[in-house]
């Protein structure tokens, strides 16, 4: 790696090179990702668009350390994670990335505030600093008055905002959003995506938003199309 490449790697939130993911189901071999290259700059928002089964979620899962590639290199915030063990990946997810999933995003028996604090509880345990950060995030997300509410007492939009807050709790380099508006109506979906953009840009945090929703692409800095496990040129 040259000096220029090293500096670029440090600047980029994500660099994926030649990522291949192959599943073997019974005797069938399924190529979910085929030599994918993807770079996301440190404050860039990328919309990842593609039909069902195209490999979007697999790509996101590998970027977030939920899955290891069969082949290729994954560098997140300067850390090469493609060879990480299961335990190292767990720590990586805890410390370096944020997730907002499509459906289940909150722990039902924890309040909104506790759903943010759980990130600290399973991680660094900063105590008061974490509590202050959770309160600040809830304030910024317009949820200060809902901090003591359980998820069942929140609307769909409020739940997504809490999930965004939780994804930002560990001050990640990269946040991965998987269909964040799929369960919301168009008006609420717009609000949430607007919020995502504002929060990411305010923090200089990179994000990948996996979506079917064309409206989201307007909020992204760049749109990447994926089809049959390959990035469309």
């Amino acid at each position: 790696m040259t000096l220029v490449e090293s500096i670029d790697t440090a600047r980029n939130a994500l660099e994926m090179r030649g990522i291949t993911k192959i599943y073997t189901v019974a005797d069938d071999v399924v190529v979910a990702l085929d030599h994918v290259d993807l770079t996301v700059a440190s404050d860039e928002i990328v919309a990842l668009v593609g039909p069902s089964g195209s490999g979007k979620t697999t790509l996101c899962s590998i970027a977030g350390g939920l899955l290891s590639p069969t082949d290729g290199s994954v560098v997140v915030a300067g850390k090469e994670i493609s060879d990480y063990s299961g335990r190292q990946l767990t720590e990586f997810r805890r410390d370096s990335v944020g997730f907002v999933f499509q459906t289940v995003n909150l722990i039902p028996f924890l309040t909104a505030r506790e759903n943010l604090l759980v990130v600290d509880e399973i991680g660094r345990r900063l105590g008061r600093v974490a509590r202050d950060r959770a309160d600040q995030l809830l304030e910024e997300l317009g949820l200060a008055d809902r901090a003591a509410n359980l998820p069942a007492q929140l609307s769909g939009g409020q739940k997504q905002r809490v999930a965004i807050g939780r994804a930002l709790m560990n001050d990640p380099s990269l946040v991965l959003f998987d269909e964040p508006t799929s369960a919301l109506d168009s008006n609420l979906g717009d609000q949430v995506v607007h919020l995502i953009r504002n929060e990411m840009k305010a923090r200089g945090t990179a994000a990948i938003i996996v979506t079917h929703d064309d409206r989201i692409t307007h909020y992204a800095d760049r749109t990447v199309h994926i089809e049959d496990g390959r990035i469309a040129k």
Partner: protein, 375 residues
């Protein structure tokens, strides 16, 4: 602790009901354990409390005091066994008595020939008899100063002995009957008053003490080898081999075994069900970086809190019960038994949660991307 305690605080009814159920089971176990102890003590407490280290029955007596009679010939053989330091008579019969001015009731009399060889080892109150009309009574049934009159009919009635209770011994009943330990002369007088035709009062068993250097079990073997009609037993054997004792213990052990299965089954199934119910939440936690070990630890903390809470409730319910008696049976708070069951149930509870723990360890964080959380 964070996850374990917050989940429990948000599902108080669910966890409270489980803690209550475990508490009731613990209460039942401790109560039945105490009833078993009280029952056995009521049956053979006097044998455990008496001071003779070896008791020799006649084989025909089937190891019961009332059924055994030692004739002079057998007694001579026992006394002649090498290793016998001291031997004395012990007799036992049940009489109709009147305590004070109360109505008639039954009482067992145990007569002993020599102090220190058949009388109670320890007194809980009072002193030992110094004359034939004095007695040590079972503490649950008599009070110091109680007058116990043997009820006799016919010409012997006016001369029937009256015993004054001068000492008390705990756990000293025989056959779940109020029991008096009296000197042999007093016992003989009681037997003759109840049965005026009796010309001679034979002992039920011979109490034996070995010479120094000879173990109780060794002396038992020598006596049994000396006569085919002798059935020598150590004090502990005499108590445990009394007909019915082993059967009672086996019945209770079967009940305890069932409890030992029910408690872990209840807790194990409960935690397995809630692990399935919160599978999506556990998957999410794994996806955002929680270690499997942290989630298992949280599960085990809940198990310990539930079983521990149940044990505390069970003990709290059981303790007041030990202040009363169930008829002639004394329910006693036995710290050893409480500790045994507390530790045992805690271990069984944790072991029962291992199935749920395995499920937690099997969670694939990738399932979070599909909204699953299939375990």
């Amino acid at each position: 602790m964070f996850l374990a305690l917050h989940e429990m605080s948000r599902a108080r009814v669910r966890f409270g009901m489980l803690i209550g159920a475990v508490g009731l089971l613990v209460f039942l176990i401790l109560t039945q354990q105490a009833i078993e102890g009280g029952l056995i003590t009521g049956f053979v407490g006097a044998l455990r409390q008496q001071s003779a280290p070896v008791l020799v029955y006649s084989v025909d007596g089937q190891r019961t005091l009332q059924g055994s009679v030692i004739n002079p010939g057998l007694e001579a053989k026992i006394r002649g066994v090498n290793g016998v330091a001291q031997a004395g008579w012990i007799g036992q019969s049940t009489f109709t008595v009147r305590v004070g001015g109360a109505t008639e009731s039954d009482a067992a009399l145990i007569g002993y020939q020599h102090p220190g060889l058949g009388d109670p080892s320890r007194l809980s109150a009072g002193r030992r008899p110094v004359g034939p009309a004095e007695a040590v009574g079972s503490a649950a049934d008599f009070a110091i100063g109680s007058k116990v009159r043997i009820v006799a009919s016919g010409p012997a009635a006016p001369t029937a002995p009256v015993f004054t209770v001068v000492g008390l011994a705990k756990d000293a009943q025989i056959q779940v009957t109020p029991t008096l330990f009296v000197p042999w002369a007093g016992y003989e007088a009681a037997v003759k008053a109840a049965n005026p035709d009796a010309t001679i009062v034979l002992p039920s068993v011979i109490a034996v003490r070995p010479v120094p250097g000879v173990a109780d079990t060794e002396l038992v073997d020598r006596i049994n080898a000396a006569s085919a009609d002798a059935d020598a037993l150590t004090r502990a054997q005499a108590a445990s081999d009394t007909p019915g004792v082993a059967q009672v213990q086996q019945s209770f052990q079967l009940i305890f075994l069932l409890y030992g299965l029910v408690v872990p089954l209840v807790t194990g199934l409960f935690f397995l069900i809630i692990t399935f119910q919160k599978a999506a939440a556990l998957t999410l936690l794994r996806a955002i970086g929680a270690r499997s070990s942290a989630l298992v630890r949280s599960l085990l903390i809940q198990v310990v809190l539930v079983v521990g809470g149940g044990i505390v409730i069970g003990i709290a319910l059981f303790a007041p019960l030990t202040l009363v008696s169930l008829g002639a049976i004394t329910i006693r708070f036995d710290p050893g038994a409480v500790l045994f069951w507390s530790v045992g149930l805690l271990v069984l509870g944790v072991a029962s949660a291992l199935v749920a723990a395995r499920r937690v360890l099997a969670i694939d964080p990738l399932e979070a991307t599909t909204g699953g959380g299939g375990l």
